[in-house]
Assembly symmetry: D2
Homo-oligomer: 353 residues x 4
């Protein structure tokens, strides 16, 4: 198989660094271009970046010269991963798509665009078809695909089997989010050591709205019939490094016979990616924990290289139908790793050649 | 005013130590007897205890000889505070009550007893009357009063004004509880550093049931008509030292006109203890935070010596009527300090002389 | 006794906020002026500040209008406390001294000035006389006094008795410093949660040099004969909130008879402030711990309102003469609280009237 | 190459679990026997253990029946790894050696035995020869080899090049040790969250004495001429999970020309294991960091699967010759992983067949 040349937009930021780390040794992708702000462009990457990843900065990447985030200067790529800041993402991502370069973005800017898939490959792979309605590149080569907010990823993965089996009427959840979700430098240690902060700006509306698109029904005209159920979220920050933990309670449309029916649905669910051999697809996308002490962020967020979502404490709810906790690695599964899996699916489906 | 001699049952345990710390310099109470297990009895307190309180062990307490938890050996007290382990609390507490000694207990054993008040002075002070139906001591001098679980205290304080104004139909909450709630040694550092544990054994049933008694209606025969609404709780442990944080969403019986009506009810609520001059009563029992980043455990749990409960992020709920977060100091307001306030109210009402 | 009107320079910063917190209810001082940058000047303090102190912002302070740090605009004060950033402290502090206003500074700018006392009242109170050689204000009313680096304060307090009894030939130490030492936002949580950072920029040279001035001998011409012994320090950052911990090993000039002789010197040492009734002077300035598990930052840094220094684990050194650990509260004893105690001594000695 | 059958002594403990985790997929070793206390013997491993490793308990191990730690019951093994508690290790380890089974032990019991190597393969591989003087098994097949304390491992790896080049006269160090060093449940979270504990029982004497044996000179009679220089250590516990950090200052016998001479010696040092292809040998055994912010426990302890030691902040000392910080993964490099590497070297050298 030929390898694809990939560029990273926002290569010096926290998400950009995660893309670089995760793509080391990837069987399909070779990082050949690093894009960042004008301030960094022209410098060696090692000089432009404050490297915060735990793995060491690879030598070949360190020596690469940082480019401007401009499709004319990063033309020799088959696709770009975008870890751009929302402040600049709209125009840059659009310029790449227009230039015929697929943009696999972690930024929030195009998540609600009617023709841009908000994609979690195990959850709504059919939404990829929406690309065909995009008009950025009349030649059809360039397009934009996004992945959702880092809390939404474990939420929709845990809910997919339940939504299909029982329908969802309402959800109440509390998220306990790790500090890496705020980027770097992000949360001040004085604010979070031995503490909980009960507010994360902008987070709760995303948690309430993005699942509506993810569970949307693709119509024959390749537009979406959005799902429609209320989600009440309290987003909090806790002193963990990686892994967002959710405490969720759900009311179903159709009452399950009993709790075992719910657990069976979760345990018997089969990811639509099974058998596709996508390098970043976890063998078990949704792991069901029987031991009520799990999943836990520090111990389980890195399962299957951070791409597996965990669900545990599945029990009857006193108020709704069922309650559970879910865990996902926020900077891998919920960000860069999720975007890489999106790219893999796009290749497998023939959208990137 | 005369000072009362008080004994501490379970004086070497974490709750017992907190009683001792908090009672230093108390204007009404003098600690004159320390009761612990046979293993400790006969030793100087300083030798029997592994002192874990941040304040230093007071010299006079250090020199006291530990006694057995037996009313014949601790007879020279006007009341006892019980920090006994649940395994031994039933018979010991009963023996003191029978011997005519009021027992102000933090143990869970008698919390659901039909004639024992489960008391939070600002929430259900009238429940004190239930003591009159107790039969431990025919002479009426000895009795048992309990305080609720450490999550339930901030919950019912935050809900009291709302329950009165709007009635409550259902509650969903997630608690983020500090490690001090598990006593000492309690939670292993390997389990909780940089982590969240999504389960605390036995906690969720208490959170669901105790508020039913606290909001119960005292009938003319001094029995309770229990409240009746479902509470769905997910109890989690987070790496904080003191202060239990709750994310709560509530459905009311009567719809408030708007969010301001709810906030007004909370801000205008007046504690029934106001004007009583009880030493441990906070000036503001329920503080309403307007800044959405607060309350926070590390910064706000110690407000008013740990006796104030905080409520913040009051907002319209997408699913129910209103959501908020609440915070209470678990080992002070939710345990030893709450018990001391109970004793103060009992004295003020003439139940202890 | 008349109360002194005090101004705070750098009132919106972390040190300035600590000054405001600590001065609430001070029997000698009333905060009457708050100075900050031009950006803040003219605003209400509550609007200009991002209040990070755990105690609530006092209402009267909240309503004060922030002034520029200019002696003509803050003229109605008897002294100022400076929590200014080093970038601007030199000219501002000098302007106040020239205007006849005593400056009690926590900034490092004048610490090595030959006529400016680097003062820890229990350690070198006689150095106050150096003020008389200052030429900022010919009228002699305005002057500058500084307090040392936050690691140096517990170090010199622990060493004072030993230096006097045995002389010091060499010191090796490691500091384990809390995150509050870096101000706000300071250390990123991603850098320090569950981690140790083995470097703090600029810290080690201060630790090596400032004690030479503090242990300097005041000569008849009011200049100092500096002490002269080498200090090797490794300054590290650890995930604690308040309290700098030091592991110290010392070689003496004169060999003590045995370890007990060293411990006796420490236990029998009497602070020169005893009997002076300075409000911020701790009753026991240097507490000797016999239990080898103490002192500990979280449990002991707040002793005596954060003004007491702890020393423990005093033992024979395999390499030098004696080893010990020492602890001091960095933002109280090692910064704002230390400066307030300096001001109190200056008043008691008649330097501020 | 044939695979060796290995048994784990103390298989249910923290060290035993780490052996099991690390040996998964090992190219030379297959775990075929699990020994634990009588209480556990006879149970399935999954039922006997409270599994605390982050990786999941492997299925085949989970199903194995736990045996007693008795060589007659674990006879079908080529060697055993011992993670036994010191209380029982002496007699059990001796019984296996006598039965002709090599014991690669992490326990401290035989570390100071005159004929038992205290082995770090990169540091003193020649000490293996001491085995020939052991008399446990006259047939020469059974023997005992130990690895040192978890602080000593990074210390001697960092010192080996310096000791050879310059000789060592004295060392002062402070260790900042992670909570995993205390096993499970080990350190109570109430003791260490946001705190430093300045004492670890029994640790400092080991740090002072074990390096003397490790740097000992093997004589022709296969006994050791011990090294002889003083080490003053302060062992502290900090809130990190894995990785012991050391701040070290060293006085040399021969003065290096300058700091660069010291750095060159460290950078140019070549591990004696290079070229041997031992599976657990790190490619770079001692990594020299130029960036003064590193190494850090959370970010660097897992380098090369936790087998690499890091050294940084190499600088001239004000008191001695040179100072630096060093880091090693305590439960891998400093315990189970180190023991596995010992076994690999023993096989490579023909001591286990």
């Amino acid at each position: 198989m030929k390898k694809f040349n990939v560029g990273i937009l926002g290569a010096t930021g926290a998400v950009g660094q995660k893309f670089i780390s995760l793509l080391q040794g990837h069987p399909w992708f070779t990082v050949t271009a690093l894009g960042a702000s004008e301030r960094s462009a022209g410098k060696k990457y090692a000089e432009a970046v404050n490297w915060i990843e735990a793995v060491e900065l690879p030598d070949d990447i360190a020596q690469m010269t940082v480019l401007e985030c401009d499709p004319t200067k990063m033309s020799d790529v088959d696709l770009v991963f975008s870890g751009l800041d929302a402040v600049v993402a709209t125009s840059i991502e659009e310029s790449f798509a227009k230039a015929g370069i697929p943009v696999i973005s972690n930024a929030k800017n195009f998540r609600s665009h009617p023709n841009v898939p908000l994609l979690v490959p195990e959850v709504n792979p059919d939404h990829i078809e929406m690309i065909k309605n995009q008009s950025f590149d009349p030649a059809g080569k360039g397009f934009i695909v996004t992945n959702p907010n880092c809390v939404v990823v474990p939420l929709v993965l845990a809910l997919r089997p339940l939504y299909d089996a029982f329908g969802i009427k309402a959800i109440v959840l509390t998220s306990m989010q790790s500090v890496s979700g705020a980027g770097y430098p992000g949360v001040a240690s004085l604010d979070i050591l031995g503490n909980v902060v009960p507010f994360i700006g902008g987070e709760e509306p995303k948690i309430a709205s993005e699942p509506m698109k993810l569970f949307g029904q693709l119509k024959s005209d390749l537009t979406l019939e959005m799902a429609d159920f209320p989600i009440e979220a309290t987003a909090t920050r806790v002193p963990t490094i990686e892994g967002h933990m959710l405490a969720v309670t759900v009311e179903f449309e159709k009452k399950p016979q009993d709790l075992n029916a719910v657990i069976d649905v979760l345990k018997n669910w089969v990811s639509p990616l099974n058998g596709m051999n996508l390098p970043f697809a976890p063998k078990i996308a949704l792991k069901v924990y029987d031991d009520e002490r799990y999943p836990q962020p520090r111990k389980n967020a890195y399962n299957e290289n951070g791409m597996q979502v965990g669900i545990g404490r599945i029990r009857k709810s006193n108020v709704f139908d069922v309650s559970f906790v879910a865990l996902g690695h926020n900077t891998i599964r919920g960000a860069a790793g999720g975007a890489i899996l999106n790219a893999e699916l796009l290749i497998q489906k023939g959208f990137i050649k």
